[in-house]
């Protein structure tokens, strides 16, 4: 099975590539549209700012290519946010795979923004998570979050409940970083690879 990690201008796209290497998956790190289309699995990682990143994706045609993919696709962090319809971060129109809005956290009662660190996820969709992941800690670092939607496949409660993961058809996404979430994160990535 071939796995492509989409290489684009976002920060830290390499971490997930290294995570795959750690469990012996020799992924390809590329921005080439043909290679992405032909892959068995596609991972769309990233941290960074929504507007400049969407601008870059549009300039490469990746904003059209990614929503048209039919193999399993996993968006991570900013990747998940860009798969939504719109982001409050610099009023950015995104790819619209998930009909959902991305909004900024408002700091509240000593709860800081960014939401940074290990938090628990719950109400898990079995298509995406093994049952034993319920209430386990995973690593988050973000200032914007996706509201709860019918596509929400895991919930995290920080300031208020938000989408920790999403799923629609062949599209999967996590707000947290499975590649940085220790053994729990590794098992989530492996489950995606086994789809």
């Amino acid at each position: 099975m071939s796995v492509v990690v989409i290489d684009y201008n976002a920060g830290n796209t390499r971490s997930v590539f290294y995570a795959l290497q750690r469990f012996g998956v020799d992924a390809e790190f590329t921005g080439d549209p043909d290679r992405i289309r032909q892959a068995g699995k596609v991972i769309f990682p990233g941290v960074g700012e929504a507007n400049t990143t969407m601008y870059f994706l549009r300039s490469r045609g990746l904003d059209q290519l990614i929503p048209a993919l039919t193999q399993p696709v996993l968006g991570i962090c900013l990747g998940m946010q860009l798969m939504c319809a719109w982001s409050e971060e610099n009023d950015t129109e995104c790819m619209g795979i998930f009909d959902a809005k991305v909004k900024r956290f408002r700091p509240d009662k000593g709860q800081k923004v960014p939401h940074m660190g290990w938090n628990t996820i719950y109400d898990l969709d079995q298509a995406m998570f093994a049952a034993e992941i319920e209430e386990k800690h995973v690593y988050f670092v973000h200032s914007y979050c996706v509201e709860k939607t019918p596509y929400t496949s895991a919930t995290c409660n920080y300031i208020s409940p938000f989408s920790a993961a999403m799923h629609r058809d062949n599209f999967y996404a996590t707000q947290f970083h499975p590649e940085k979430s220790g053994p729990v994160g590794a098992s989530i990535l492996k489950k995606f690879l086994s789809l």
């Binding site: 920060g11 830290n12 390499r14 971490s15 290294y18 995570a19 290497q21 750690r22 941290v47 960074g48 700012e49 700091p107 000593g110 709860q111 800081k112 923004v113 960014p114 939401h115 940074m116 660190g117 290990w118 938090n119 628990t120 800690h137 690593y139 670092v141 973000h142 200032s143 409660n157 920080y158 970083h177 590649e179 940085k180 979430s181 220790g182 053994p183 994160g185 590794a186």
Partner: protein, 250 residues
Amino acid sequence: MLAKRIVPCLDVKDGRTVKGVNFVELRDAGDPVELGKLYSEQGADELVFLDITATKEKRKTLADLADKVAHHLNIPFTIGGGISSVGDVDVLLQNGADKVSVNSSAVKRPALLEELSYRFGSQCIVAAIDARYDQGEWIVHVAGGSVPTDRELFSWAREVQERGAGEILFTSMDHDGTKQGFAIEALSRLSDMLDIPIIASGGAGTMEHFAEVFTSGKADAGLAASIFHFHEISIPDLKNYLRARDIPVR
């Protein structure tokens, strides 16, 4: 619930850990990657690698370190030490660092924080602040704590937040190395006045000190070096201790 983070800090010089760490479990305790991996397996939530190399090869040494750590660890890590430009940070993030910490260079040229947060996002920019309490005021120091500045801790902390830092790593020079506990009052004041997370550093000696820094100190993360390196506190014991006191940990 968001867990309080336990953060071991490793000092690195020329790609090797310093401060005489002594680990029987490790083949090579001087290898920062091996030591980092051990901490990660013990349940550390995050690691900080502080580079004290002072050579021209520094940028490459740091990039190599980031690359090695990113290959082998599955928890987040921060790299700091002499980072002073967008180019420095770009190289480290490209090599897999999750966050970078800047200290003296931000004091010298505060606009650096805006440049970095604009380019890479606040979430990966940690402002490290070293301060000493002197005549009723916390005075910010640079160059590894050796040079006092005309800046005061709380106004500088507010400024780094406004300029785009995503987190503050505050070290009390008065408490550092004493093992008498963290600078609780200053930490709690920082936490109350700011919206970004605070990593407390300096003074950890007992498990009780961590409980204190997460409750009355209101810190989001507690950093320590020697007490972990010299087995004075084990991370699993510390987590159990905190859990028993209803402090959320992973």
